[in-house]
Every structure is written in structure tokens, then in C-alpha cells.
């Protein structure tokens, strides 16, 4: 957060409600202005203007209103929206959710930029094209990440989503080059934070990591800001310095809860499950900041991580996220129960940009048909497994039993992998072929006959 030159201040606090502070008798205060709030004990908090009405201004207080009483409070408005200083100084730094150093270093220097950013002209976007190889077989083969994409991980508490997210962050390459990583933690436990720092140690040591951490016991409203700071910093590093930046944001459910808390305090009419109707636009304002720009190097690739309350994918946070992002990677307890890491439920997972990032001239000629065939076969295997549970596996047709055998092979030889293991894409695709060989040839209808002959020989 930048030091703001304070203009005039106002002290007539009329109301405190939840995270909101209403100050009266103000003049010249604009909507969405950033403000500094001085408390009688000399401490300072920060706020954003949510509404101005005549001489009243309503602020949301980022650190919360705990222990504030109306008397002796002084609100100074900055005359502009909240800004953050951007630049390469961010690399190697660890900050709190408001961007203030936690590592004992000096405040970050650089140009100030508004944290809300500006919409990117869609006609100036470069459609994402280059595959990002993560070394994780199931992702690279079936849900290929593409440079400039937004691809979330949907998980449930207790699943290894941070392991997967950090594995991606540590290993991902595009055209042989690694990524710079901006990690925004929201509502993470201290144990999770320590784990993330440990997993990304190497990137950090190389000065290629930015950490913004809002812990579970940090102020809730501050979380509204954390991803915006992360993305503002990332946009600058990517589009003005030309870096390939991967932004990991976890946990977006905690973020959305902070948004809901503000909305509730404002007594807004909720849409679903108490979340405000604008949650879609709010989340889109974050996720849409990924991408590439024509004629410029650099990219912002976003991997939001969220936990689905009660594993419910129709909950507003995963649902709205899915409506904005370019696919999703879903982790499922059933798959984890079969002992598979990463426990990706491949049928509900999808990378929508894979079609432009994988295939001839990008990865391998057989990549897209192989992925389509593996998925089609898994869909059929799922039906066979459900049927088998009801009527007994021995009552299944030979074809159905072949599908079950296929699923076992593909999970064991292709999907399961070590938490630090990286696999070449060629190796992954060959494993996929080996698994497909378990099926009768007549079942391989998604693959051109010539391709089957080339990889599996004549039957």
C-alpha cells in the first residue's frame, strides 16, 4: 500500500456497523476513494469509500472496526482510489494481505497503480496458444494449461490442493522457460502458509516469488484487497516487464466470504446463499486480469484455488468461478480414496483452452485425439463401474470389463504420480497409449485408424 498524502480530514463518525464506518459532514469526497483512519491510540487503519450521499461517506474498513468507538477518530481521504506500488522490487518479498512487508524489509518502491486495474480491450488480447507443461501427467495430458489462461482448482477441505498448486508453481514451464510466481494467500492457516513457503523455497531463493499472505486470523476484510494487489503487481511484471507470471490465489472461498460480509453489513439484497448478486462481476474483475496482449511479451496465468463448502460444486463460489474461468480442475475425495495423487476427477475437469494450446505444432500430433479417447473411455468405464456395483462385475459384458481394466491401468500408470515428481509430456502420452491398448480396437473410435496402427501396431 502506498503512503498517501493526506488531504483534509473529518472526524464526525456517525455509525459503525460490521466492517462499515459512516462519517458525516464530509466535503469533496469521491466514490471509491481510499482513506486513512487515525485512531485515538495513534494506530492507523484503512478504508475504501463504498458510497457518498450528500455529506455522508460510507467506508469499508479493511482491518475491521473492532475496538473503534466514534469519538476521536479522524478520517483522511486521499483523493484517489487505492493504489499499490508496482515493480521488480516485489520479487523475493513477503507481505501481508495489504501489501505491507512481513519480512522486515523496507516498503516496496515503484510506480503507484490503482489496484482495481482497468479492463483490457478484448480486441488487443492475444488468444492464449502456448502449452504450459507442469510435469503433472494428468494435467498435461488431459487438461493442458495454456499461457495466459485462468484455470482454477476446485477442492474440498483436507484435499491436497495446495500440494498440487505448489507443484504446478514450482515446475511449470512454457517453451522451456519457468514462470515467476505471485502467490496470494487468503484465510490460510499458519500451517498451510509454512507448507507453501517450504514448497516454493527454490523459487523464493531465486528471487522469482512474491508472497502476499492473509492468514486465517488476519483481518477478514483485508482479503478483499489481497488478490487485487497480487494481480496489479503481476500485470505490471507481465505486461510492462515481459515476465511470464503465474498467479496462485488460495482460498477464493475465504475471499468471497469477505465480500459477503461487506454486502451483509450494507444490508444488500442477496442473490444465492447470502452472496451478493454482483459476486460474478466481482470475481470476473479478478480472473479476467489474466491473459496476453498483442505485440507484447509476458503473460498472466491465473490458478485460483477454492474449497467447495460440503463438496458442493453448485455452491455460488465454485459455480460463479466456473462461469468465468477457462475450465476447472476438480479434486475428488473418491479418487483420493483409491490412493491416487493428484486426485483429479478427470471427467468433471476441463481445460477449455487446451484445444488451442495442444496438438500439432504445439505439443504432439496425437495429443488431442488421445485425450479425447481417454476421456471417452473413462466416461464409459464410469458407467460400467456403476452397473457393476449393481449387478456384479461378473454380470458385465466382456467389453465393459475391458473398460474397468482400462480405468485401473490409466489411474495407476498415468494419473498417479509423486508430489515432487515431474514427467515429460512424451512419457505421459506414451503411458496413455499403453493404457488404451487394454481396450478392444473397435472401441477406439475417437482415434483415426492410422494413428492407432502407428502407436499400437496392427491388431
Amino acid at each position: 500500500m502506498t503512503a498517501q498524502t493526506a488531504r483534509i480530514g473529518f472526524g464526525d463518525v456517525r455509525e459503525l456497523r460490521g466492517p462499515l464506518l459512516v462519517v458525516g459532514d464530509v466535503d469533496g469526497v469521491g466514490w471509491d476513494e481510499f482513506a486513512t483512519i487515525d485512531l485515538p491510540d495513534g494506530s492507523v487503519r484503512h478504508g475504501l469509500v463504498l458510497e457518498v450521499d450528500g455529506d455522508l461517506a460510507v467506508l469499508q474498513v479493511l482491518e475491521g472496526t473492532d475496538a473503534i468507538s466514534p469519538g476521536g477518530v479522524w478520517v483522511r481521504f486521499s483523493g484517489r482510489p487505492l493504489q499499490v506500488r508496482v515493480g521488480p522490487d516485489w520479487y523475493g518479498r513477503v507481505c501481508n494481505g495489504r501489501g505491507e512487508p512481513l519480512d522486515g524489509g523496507p516498503p516496496i518502491a515503484g510506480e503507484p497503480r490503482p489496484v482495481a486495474g482497468w479492463p483490457l480491450n478484448p480486441t488487443r488480447r492475444e488468444p492464449p496458444r502456448e502449452a504450459v507443461l507442469t510435469g503433472v501427467s494428468v494435467l498435461d495430458t488431459l487438461t493442458t494449461l495454456v499461457r495466459g489462461q485462468k484455470l482454477p482448482i476446485f477442492s474440498v477441505p483436507g484435499m491436497p490442493h495446495l500440494t498440487l498448486a505448489t507443484q504446478i508453481a514450482a515446475r511449470a514451464t512454457t517453451a522451456g522457460e519457468g514462470f515467476r510466481v505471485v502467490f496470494a494467500g487468503m484465510g490460510l492457516t499458519h500451517a498451510d502458509i509454512a507448507y507453501v513457503r517450504d514448497r516454493l523455497e527454490e523459487r523464493s531463493a531465486a528471487g522469482e516469488l512474491v508472497l502476499l499472505l492473509n492468514a486465517a486470523d488476519d483481518p477478514v476484510i483485508e482479503r478483499v484487497l489481497t488478490p487485487r494487489i497480487a494481480l496489479t503487481v503481476a500485470e505490471h511484471l507481465a505486461f510492462e516487464r515481459g515476465d511470464d507470471v503465474l498467479v496462485v490465489m488460495s482460498d477464493m472461498t475465504s475471499y468471497a466470504e469477505a465480500v459477503r460480509e461487506v454486502a451483509a453489513a450494507r444490508r444488500e439484497i442477496p442473490a444465492r446463499r447470502g452472496y451478493p448478486g454482483y459476486l460474478y462481476s466481482d470475481l470476473a474483475g479478478l480472473y479476467e486480469r489474466c491473459g496476453r496482449i498483442q505485440g507484447r511479451p509476458g503473460s498472466v496465468t491465473v490458478v485460483p484455488v477454492l474449497t467447495m463448502p460440503a463438496g458442493d460444486i453448485t455452491h455460488p463460489v465454485p459455480d460463479l468461478t466456473g462461469y468465468i474461468t477457462e475450465g476447472q480442475v476438480v479434486l475428488a475425495p473418491e479418487v483420493a480414496a483409491r490412493g491416487v495423487y493428484p486426485p483429479v476427477d478427470v471427467l468433471s475437469s476441463l481445460s477449455r483452452l487446451m484445444r488451442s494450446g495442444a496438438g500439432p505444432g504445439r505439443t504432439r500430433d496425437d495429443h488431442l485425439p488421445v485425450a479425447a479417447q481417454v476421456l471417452a473411455a473413462l466416461a464409459r468405464a464410469r458407467q460400467a463401474a456403476e452397473l457393476g456395483e449393481l449387478v456384479g462385475v461378473s454380470a458385465l459384458s466382456e467389453t465393459d470389463r475391458a473398460y474397468l481394466a482400462f480405468r485401473e491401468t490409466v489411474e495407476r500408470d498415468l494419473f498417479a504420480q509423486g508430489t515432487d515428481e515431474g514427467r515429460e509430456l512424451a512419457d505421459s502420452l506414451d503411458r496413455a497409449w499403453a493404457a488404451l491398448d487394454v481396450l478392444p480396437r473397435r472401441e477406439l473410435t475417437m482415434l483415426p485408424a492410422a494413428m492407432v496402427a502407428e502407436h499400437l501396431g496392427s491388431p
Binding site: 450521499d53 478484448p122 473410435t445 483415426p448
Partner: protein
């Protein structure tokens, strides 16, 4: 009353209240503050006006000046629309800066256009007369049509190139320019609505064979995230038989818009000899652009469509997604404190939806040409819940419903159009149209197919309880038929070189062929061949043929089906 200036009193995001504005009317456009942000009047009470602002209102504060313009929210319609992208208020995006800040300058366009007059001095013109064409506007002939109210004798024609706003001709003493200003929310007039049904070929088999749409009708595509709404709409934008396509990206992804632009520029348009992008107007108000311009974008799209309709074209308007538009309505209504109806949506939701879909139609234009505006809207139900207000409200105003099914999509069956809940109210009339054009079997193929699909679904759930092997042979063949129809006919990969689009002839051959194969299988089991033998016959050739022959190769399909039939005969 004189137009007046007022002052800002309250700012709450896009909702702005203003004091002292007199002489303004509902839906007038006003300019706010030093950046002159555009806003529309949506409420008036005494001296207090409620405004809906079309840009980010950060920094706007009580006391800032407000200026009335006396105009409605309108756009400039003329040459230069096709092949270009615009924002929700119809301001050019192609050529605008990388970052869209509210203060960006929008030039009126000072390009001079050469035009060929189609009338001479002394000619009588009425609204709808083609006055000129503008050859440089692209391969779709750009016709300058006499606007409503222009009637009389041509008194002057400019002899050189003119900009879109300069006078190009004069009718009596009224100047007519190449471009026309028109309020976005007002439907353009036409002579009469036509009711006979002419199908719009979309190139997507599941639609053309099972759930067709008529020219000038409205259709909706509801589906949870990732079920394939956008891809289906993009396929229609690419391959449908329209003369002009207006693609409205309403609150959706920036990358998708960039991709539509890039891809359409690569595909040649066989109808005009140009590229597909040259018949397309893109309106992009992505999810991170100002929310209220999203609300306007739908109206901008349909106004552009009506403009081309009035030149005599069949136009398709695609809106992805109407739910984001409805959310913008809700967002604003909530801020004004209106009493919400269902799920926070304003009580006016249904009438807003009607106003949009009812602008679809096949008409005789003022100039006497037959033309149409077909409207196709995506609907994004929260949580995939098809009982939510936008989905249910929309169903009342459309003729075709293409319901996308999450299970089909998860099984990678694309397009994931469900045969369970989708409908086409004009299917019978479309059948009659096909019959009149030499394909009387269209109707029976459709009926057989929907019946087989439904029966296969019923048997599949039965088989889950008792096991497939306990079903009688003819029912096992129905299960096989369901699989063949799904895999060999209904699936269509948008990325495929051969199968991304499909002509009516290839579609008919494919469906006819598969139904013949199903009949042959039924005959085999009736003659005592074991169901297992039939099931394990290699029919991969039949499933692959849609991919292996060209988009119009009905012959190739028929030949392949004949080979498969011959092989089946050997089983007997």
C-alpha cells in the same frame, strides 16, 4: 423546458442521484462530472433524478456538475460496422487503447467512403428505398436505405466520397448521410411480420435434424458452466446460413472475444467470397467492463441486427450470455432499492426478456424486402438450476430451446444438447418445408430418432437394475441404436476439419444410414442372431464416417453405410 445542468448528490457505484436537473425525460442521456461519463435517466422524482452510469464512477462526488444532452442512448449505424468490434454502447474497440479507461476519446470516424448512388436527382423515394451502396464496406453489399420519415424527390447527390455523417444525398430539402443515428432501445419499424416458417440451417446436426430453428425465431441455450453454450453459439456464428451475424459477448470472457475475432478472420465465407469476419459485427462487453454497459449491449446488438435486416438480409443475433444482462438489471434495481421479486431479480424481468426476444422476427421491410432477425441467447443458470427466474422467464418467449446437459458434457458428448427437455415449436412446419423441397422423410426420421433416444434412455436405466444381459435381444439393439445415434450422428466436434459443420444432405444421409443399420440389426436378432454378436460387431467405421468425409459428402456417407450394411448381412 430548457435543458438544465444539475449536481451530483449521491454515488453508489453505477447508481448516481442528481439534484436540479429539470427538463430531462426518462432514458435521456446525461454527462457526469469532469470526465463526462455517460449515464441514462432511469428515475425521476421532483428535482431528483436517478441515473445509471455506463462507466466506472470512481472519484465522482457530490457537487460535481451534470449536463443533460436531450438525446436518447443511441448509436451511429453506417458502413464500417462489419468486421469490427464495439463495446456495449457501440463505441469502437478495434483501434481503441489497450486499457479501457473512462476518459478514452471516441472519434466519430473521419474516413471518407466512396458510394454508388442507386437513385438519381428527380427520383421519388420512400422510407426503405435503397439510395446507395457502399462497395468499400466489404463483401456484404452495404445498402444505404432511406430512413423512416424520408419521403420525397432526390434533389442532390454528392459526387465524391463522404464521411458517414456528411450529407450524401438530399431528399427534398432534407440531408441524408450514409449513416443514421438510431436509439438503441427502440425497435426499427417494418411493414409487416411474416408467419410462414423457413428454417435457418445452422450446420449443427442435432439442431438441424431434431430441434430446428426458423428464420426470425428466437432460441435459448441454457446450460451450466462448461456445457458448451459458447462453442455452440460460435459454431452457429460461423456456419449458419445467415447473411449477417451480430455476436454480442455480454459479460463473458475477453479471451473468447479475441478468439472469435481471430478465428472468423481465418475462415473464408463461401457465400460472399470474403471472410466470415466480414459478415460479422462483434459487440464485446466482457465481464470486467462496466456492468451497466453490459445491460445496453444486448440492445445495441439487436439494433445493429435490425439495421442490416432493413437492408434485406437474414441476420442472426447471438447473445452470450443473457443471464449476465439480467444480472446487470438486478444489480441496478437492487441499488435503487426496488422491491425484488424472485432471487433478487426485479419484477420487470419478464417484460425485459420479452422486449428483447420479441425483437426477433421475419418481416417485410419498409423497402418491401423479406428479411429476418433471428435471436439466439445463452442462459447461464446459477448452479445449473433450470428453475431459476431467467431460465424459466426466457422459455416463455422463445420458439426453440436447446438445453445443454451437464452429464453429456462431462462425458464429452458435444454439442451436449439434451433430447430430454429441448424443444422446437416449429418442427412440424420445418418438416413441411423439407417435404415441399424433396425430403418428405425428414419428419419421420426425426420422429424415429427421438423415440429411439428416449427408449434407449429408459432401457439403460432398466439395465442398471437388472443387467443388460437380462434384456430381450430387440431391446439390446435399441440400446445399441441409442449409442450409434449419439456417437455417429449427434456428436459433432467443433474443432474437426470435416465435421465442424454439416450440410442438410450429409446430415440426412448420416441419420438415414444409421437408422437403416439399426433396422438391419433388428432384423438380424429377429432371425435369431445373438444380441452379443450384433453388439460386438465392429461398427467403428460407421461412427467415424462423419469425421472422415467432407462436410457436404452425402455420397461418401451413403457408401460407408452400404458397406456396413453388407457386413451385417454376412452375420445372418
Amino acid at each position: 423546458m430548457e435543458l438544465s445542468a444539475g449536481t451530483v448528490r449521491r454515488v453508489n457505484g453505477p447508481l448516481v442521484e442528481v439534484d436540479g436537473l429539470t427538463g430531462v425525460a426518462m432514458l435521456d442521456v446525461v454527462h457526469l462530472g469532469p470526465e463526462r461519463i455517460a449515464a441514462e435517466v432511469v428515475g425521476l422524482a421532483g428535482e431528483r433524478a436517478t441515473l445509471q452510469a455506463y462507466e466506472y464512477t470512481g472519484g465522482l462526488r457530490p457537487g460535481h456538475q451534470v449536463e443533460a444532452t436531450g438525446d436518447r442512448l443511441s448509436g451511429l449505424f453506417g458502413p464500417g460496422l462489419l468486421g469490427q468490434a464495439f463495446d456495449g454502447l457501440l463505441r469502437p474497440l478495434s483501434g481503441a487503447p489497450v486499457w479501457l479507461t473512462p476518459d478514452r476519446e471516441v472519434g466519430a470516424g473521419d474516413r471518407a467512403w466512396q458510394f454508388e448512388a442507386r437513385v438519381s436527382v428527380g427520383d421519388e423515394v420512400v422510407p426503405g428505398t435503397v439510395l446507395a451502396v457502399v462497395p468499400e464496406a466489404g463483401p456484404v453489399e452495404h445498402r444505404v436505405v432511406a430512413p423512416a420519415g424520408v419521403r420525397g424527390r432526390v434533389t442532390w447527390v454528392a459526387d465524391g466520397p463522404v464521411t458517414v455523417t456528411e450529407p450524401a444525398l438530399r431528399v427534398d430539402d432534407r440531408d441524408v448521410a450514409l449513416a443514421e443515428r438510431w436509439p438503441l432501445r427502440v425497435p426499427r419499424p417494418f411493414r409487416e411480420r411474416l408467419s410462414q416458417v423457413v428454417p435457418l440451417h445452422t450446420g449443427q446436426r442435432v439442431l438441424d435434424l431434431l430441434y430446428p430453428i426458423a428464420r426470425g425465431a428466437a432460441a435459448a441455450v441454457p446450460g451450466g458452466f462448461g456445457t458448451g453454450k459458447t462453442l455452440l453459439l460460435q459454431q452457429i456464428a460461423k456456419w449458419s446460413e445467415a447473411d449477417v451475424v451480430v455476436y454480442v459477448g455480454c459479460g463473458e470472457r475477453g479471451n473468447e472475444m479475441a478468439e472469435v475475432l481471430t478465428e472468423l478472420a481465418l475462415v473464408p465465407d463461401e457465400r460472399t467470397g470474403g471472410r466470415l469476419v466480414d459478415r460479422t459485427v462483434i459487440i464485446a462487453n466482457t465481464s470486467n467492463m462496466p456492468m451497466m454497459a453490459r445491460e445496453a449491449s444486448i440492445h445495441s446488438g439487436i439494433a445493429v441486427a435490425e439495421y442490416f435486416r432493413d437492408m434485406g438480409y437474414d441476420v442472426v443475433v447471438i447473445a452470450d450470455s443473457t443471464s449476465r444482462w439480467a444480472e446487470a438489471l438486478r444489480e441496478f434495481a437492487n441499488r435503487t432499492g426496488d422491491l425484488p421479486a424472485e432471487e433478487g431479480y426485479p419484477a420487470t424481468l419478464a417484460s425485459e426478456l420479452a422486449a428483447f426476444y420479441e425483437r426477433a422476427g421475419r418481416v417485410v421491410t419498409l423497402g418491401g424486402r423479406t428479411a429476418s432477425t433471428t435471436v439466439i441467447g445463452a442462459v447461464s443458470p446459477p448452479g445449473g438450476d433450470m428453475t431459476e427466474p431467467v431460465t424459466t422467464g426466457t422459455q416463455r418467449f422463445i420458439r426453440s430451446l436447446w438445453l445443454l446437459d451437464r452429464d453429456l458434457a462431462y462425458a464429452r458428448h458435444y454439442p451436449a444438447v439434451s433430447w430430454n427437455g429441448s424443444f422446437a415449436r416449429d418442427a412440424d412446419a420445418v418438416g413441411a418445408w423439407h417435404a415441399a423441397r424433396g425430403d418428405p422423410a425428414w419428419r419421420s426420421r426425426r420422429a424415429t430418432t427421438t423415440a429411439l433416444l428416449a427408449e434407449a434412455d429408459r432401457l439403460a436405466s432398466l439395465a442398471e437394475v437388472i443387467g443388460t444381459s437380462s434384456l430381450p435381444a430387440h431391446e439390446r439393439v435399441v440400446l445399441l441404436a441409442g449409442r450409434l445415434l449419439r456417437d455417429a450422428v449427434l456428436q459433432q466436434n467443433a474443432l474437426s476439419g470435416n465435421d465442424a459443420s454439416c450440410t442438410a444432405a450429409k446430415g440426412a444421409a448420416l441419420l438415414g444410414g444409421v437408422l437403416d443399420v439399426v433396422d438391419a440389426c433388428q432384423r438380424l436378432v429377429a432371425r435369431g442372431v445373438a444380441a452379443t454378436t450384433v453388439e460386438e460387431t465392429d461398427l467403428a467405421d460407421l461412427v467415424r464416417v462423419r469425421e472422415e468425409v467432407g462436410p457436404g459428402d452425402a455420397e461418401g456417407v451413403a457408401q460407408r453405410c452400404a458397406e456396413v450394411l453388407a457386413r451385417l448381412e454376412e452375420l445372418a
